[in-house]
C-alpha cells in the first residue's frame, strides 16, 4: 500500500513537472492587435487571446470576473501600457491569482516599451484637459511600424520563456517586419494622394495613424478626451470644418454614431465607421487586414466616395 502511494505521488509530481514541456505558451493581451501580433510571432507554439474585443472601447472594459478566470493559467500577459488599460487591468491581473503574469514578473509585458510615444504631457497633468493619459497617447497600435516594435519585444519575451523555440520566434518576428513593410508601402501609396488632408476623429486615437500617413487632425468630436460632445461643440466644430473644407469624420464602432453623423451632416461631409482595433469590423481579423480595411475606408472617404 505504501509503495502504491509513493508510486501515485511520483506519477503526479512527474506529470506536473513535465506539463510545461509540451504545453503551448498561453498568451493573453489587453488588445486584439497585441493578440494578433503575439499569434504571428508565436506561431504554432503560442495560443493568444485578447481580453478586450475589437469592437469594445479599450478604455472601458468591464473588469468581469470571467476575464480573471480567462488568464488564470496564462504564461504571458501583454498590456497595452501607457495606462490605456489602467481602468480595469489593476483589478483583473491580481484577480487572476496567477503569480507568473503580475506586473514586475517575467510573464508581464508592457507592449509600449520601445515605442516612440506621441503627446507626452509636458509639465503637470491637468484633468481640466479631460481624461488625458499622463504617460502619453496610448493608441500607438494605429501605426504599423509600432507593431513591428511590439513584435520584436514579444519575440524576446517568448524566447526567454521558451528557449527551445527561440529561433522560430526570431524568424517569425523578422517575417512580421517583412510583411508589414511590404504592406506599409502599399498603404502609403493608397494614401499618398491625400497627404496633408484634414480629418476629424471622435477621440484622439488616430494621432499615430495620421503621423505615419501624413494626414492632419483638424479636431475631435469629443471636446476633450473622455468628455461627450455638447450641442454647442458640435455646432462650433461643424462651422469650423465647413470654413476649412474638412469633410471626413472617423469614428470607431464603440463611439456614438449619432454625434459623428450629426457633425458630418452639419459640415456637409461624411462620417465613416472605421476599426482601429483588430476585430472591430468584419474583415479585420488580424493586424494586416485591419490596416487594409482602415486604409481603404480612409482613402475612400477622403476621395469623396
Amino acid at each position: 500500500m505504501k509503495s502504491f502511494a509513493r508510486y501515485l505521488w511520483g506519477s503526479v509530481l512527474g506529470l506536473l513537472a513535465a506539463a510545461p514541456a509540451f504545453a503551448d505558451l498561453k498568451v493573453a493581451t489587453s488588445l486584439t492587435d497585441l493578440a494578433s501580433v503575439a499569434q504571428f510571432v508565436g506561431g504554432k507554439h503560442v495560443s493568444a487571446l485578447s481580453l478586450c474585443r475589437g469592437y469594445e472601447d479599450p478604455h472601458f472594459v468591464p473588469a468581469k470576473p470571467s476575464l480573471m478566470k480567462a488568464i488564470q493559467h496564462a504564461n504571458v500577459f501583454v498590456s497595452t501600457g501607457l495606462e490605456l488599460d489602467g481602468g480595469w487591468l489593476p483589478l483583473v491581473l491580481p484577480g487572476s491569482r496567477n503569480p507568473g503574469i503580475q506586473q514586475g514578473t517575467k510573464g508581464f509585458v508592457d507592449a509600449s516599451e520601445g515605442v516612440n510615444v506621441l503627446e507626452k504631457p509636458v509639465g503637470t497633468v491637468n484633468r481640466a484637459e479631460g481624461d488625458i493619459h499622463p504617460l502619453g497617447n496610448p493608441h500607438y497600435y494605429a501605426d504599423p511600424k509600432d507593431l513591428e516594435v511590439v513584435a520584436h519585444q514579444l519575440a524576446d519575451v517568448f524566447s526567454r520563456l521558451d528557449p527551445a523555440n527561440a529561433a522560430d520566434y526570431a524568424a517569425n518576428a523578422k517575417a512580421f517586419d517583412e510583411k508589414m513593410d511590404a504592406s506599409l508601402e502599399k498603404w502609403e501609396q493608397q494614401l499618398a494622394p491625400y497627404k496633408g488632408s484634414s480629418i476629424v476623429t471622435y477621440h484622439k486615437n488616430f494621432d499615430y495613424f495620421a503621423d505615419r500617413f501624413g494626414l492632419k487632425l483638424f479636431g475631435t468630436v469629443e471636446p476633450k478626451p473622455g468628455i461627450p460632445p455638447s450641442p454647442r461643440h458640435i455646432t462650433e466644430l461643424a462651422a469650423a470644418m465647413k470654413q476649412a473644407g474638412v469633410k471626413v469624420v472617423l469614428y470607431q464602432p464603440y463611439y456614438s454614431a449619432d454625434a459623428s453623423n450629426e457633425l458630418a451632416k452639419r459640415a456637409g461631409g461624411t462620417a465613416v465607421e472605421v476599426a482601429t482595433e483588430v476585430g472591430g469590423l468584419p474583415g479585420t481579423d488580424d493586424v494586416f487586414s485591419k490596416f487594409d480595411v482602415l486604409v481603404n475606408s480612409v482613402a475612400g472617404a477622403l476621395a469623396g466616395k
Binding site: D57, P65, P94, R97, N98, Y254
Partner: protein
C-alpha cells in the same frame, strides 16, 4: 603637512563637478512613492422627520495610498476623514498573489461579505445604504483587522471561495454584530462563495453566499448570513454609454443561545439601475428590514426603537466625467414598531462626489 593639504585641495577640485551635479538632485528619491488619490463626498438632506436643519453636509474625505511593497506584497490603504472630525483608517491591508490560485489579504480589511458591503461610500448605488446593512454587518460593511484567503477554484467558470479570520470586537456603532467575548477561542470567521457566469457577451449572472460568525459578550455564538444575486448587462459596443444592473440581497443577523437559534434582524433589497447615456444613470430600489433601527423610527423621548421598515427610493445621477458626480434621490419609508408607532418618512437628498489623483477601479 603641506603635501596632505595639497592632496585634499586637489581631491576637492577633482570632485567639485560631481558634487555640484549631485546638489541638483535630492538624496531622497520619490520615484517609489505610492499612487495617491482623494475623494470627497458631500450630502444634503431634507427630511421633516429628522431633528436637523436642511442643508449641505460634509460626509467624508477619503485618502487612498497604493503601492507595491516588495516582490511579495502590495499595500492598499483608505484613510477616511469623517464629517464629525474623526479619522477612520477604514482599510489598511497588504495583498499577496504569490500563491497560484490564491489571493491573501492581511490587515484591516473590508471583509468579503455580501455584495453591498464591499462598496465604498462614494460607490453606493443609492445615497442611503440598505437599512438592513446597518442592522446586520455595518452600514459600510464588515471592516475589521484580520486575514483572508480567496481561492479561485479550477471550475470552468469564476467560482471563488473565501475564508477569513478576524479580531473579535464587541458591538458598537460600527459593529452591529457582537463578537465581544474575551474567551481565547473567540476568533470570528468568515466564509464566502461567489460564482459568476457570462450568460452572453453582454450579460453576467453572479451568485454569492456569505457567513460570518464569532462569540458575543454573552458567550454565545453570534452570526450573520447573506445571499445575493446580480444580473448585469454591459453591451460591448456601448460599454461607456449603456447598461443595467438588477441586484438583490438578503441579510440576516442572529445568535444561538443555549442551542436554539434566535433571528434578531433580517431584511433585503432589490434594485435596478439603468444607464441612460455616458453621463446619466437612474435607479430604483425597494427594501424591507425587520426588527431594525433607522433614524426616523424613535419613541417619544427620541430614543431609537426597532421595527419593520419598508422603503422605496429612486435617484438620478449626472456623471460628467469618471471623477465626479451629482445625484438626487427621493425616498419614501414606512415603519411599524408594533406598539402603535407607525411613522412615515419622505426625504430628498442631493450628493456630490469628487475624486482627484489615482483612484483604483471599483470591482465589477
Amino acid at each position: 603637512m603641506r603635501l596632505r593639504t595639497s592632496a585634499c585641495l586637489f581631491a576637492a577640485l577633482v570632485c567639485a563637478p560631481a558634487l555640484a551635479g549631485a546638489q541638483t538632485r535630492s538624496m531622497f528619491s520619490n520615484l517609489a512613492n505610492p499612487a495617491l488619490g482623494m475623494n470627497a463626498l458631500f450630502t444634503g438632506t431634507a427630511a421633516r422627520t429628522l431633528d436637523q436643519p436642511y442643508g449641505l453636509g460634509f460626509d467624508e474625505a477619503e485618502i487612498s495610498l497604493i503601492s507595491v511593497v516588495d516582490p511579495y506584497w502590495t499595500f492598499v490603504s483608505n484613510i477616511v476623514f469623517v464629517g464629525d472630525g474623526s479619522v477612520d483608517p477604514e482599510e489598511v491591508w497588504v495583498r499577496s498573489t504569490n500563491i497560484p490560485g490564491i489571493q491573501i489579504k492581511l490587515g484591516k480589511i473590508r471583509g468579503t461579505f455580501g455584495k453591498h458591503g464591499l462598496l465604498h461610500t462614494h460607490a453606493f448605488p443609492f445615497i442611503q445604504g440598505p437599512i438592513i446593512m446597518e442592522n446586520s454587518i455595518g452600514g459600510e460593511g464588515f471592516k475589521d483587522p484580520g486575514v483572508e484567503a480567496a481561492w479561485l477554484t479550477p471550475l470552468p467558470w469564476f467560482a471563488e471561495v473565501t475564508g477569513g479570520v478576524y479580531q473579535a470586537i464587541a458591538a458598537d456603532a460600527d459593529h452591529p454584530l457582537d463578537f465581544g467575548s474575551s474567551r481565547h477561542d473567540n476568533v470570528p470567521f468568515l466564509g464566502h462563495l461567489k460564482n459568476q457566469l457570462d450568460l452572453n457577451n453582454a450579460t453576467t449572472l453572479e451568485l454569492g453566499q456569505s457567513i460570518l460568525q464569532g462569540r458575543g459578550s454573552d458567550g454565545f455564538p453570534h452570526s450573520a448570513y447573506g445571499a445575493d444575486v446580480t444580473i448585469r448587462n454591459v453591451p460591448p459596443r456601448n460599454s461607456n454609454r449603456r447598461g443595467w444592473i438588477l441586484q438583490s440581497e438578503y441579510l440576516q443577523k442572529g445568535s444561538r443561545i443555549d442551542g436554539s437559534y434566535v433571528r434578531e434582524q433580517d431584511g433585503g433589497y432589490a434594485s435596478f439601475q439603468y444607464r441612460l447615456s455616458q453621463v446619466w444613470w437612474m435607479g430604483v430600489r425597494g427594501e424591507q428590514a425587520r426588527q431594525s433601527f433607522t433614524d426616523f423610527l424613535v419613541d417619544d423621548t427620541g430614543a431609537p426603537v426597532p421595527g419593520k421598515v419598508n422603503r422605496v427610493c429612486a435617484n438620478i445621477a449626472w456623471t460628467p466625467s469618471e471623477f465626479s458626480f451629482i445625484r438626487v434621490e427621493y425616498s419614501h419609508a414606512q415603519a411599524d414598531a408594533g406598539n402603535g408607532l407607525r411613522p412615515n418618512d419622505d426625504r430628498i437628498m442631493i450628493q456630490m462626489s469628487y475624486t482627484i489623483g489615482y483612484h483604483p477601479a471599483h470591482a465589477y
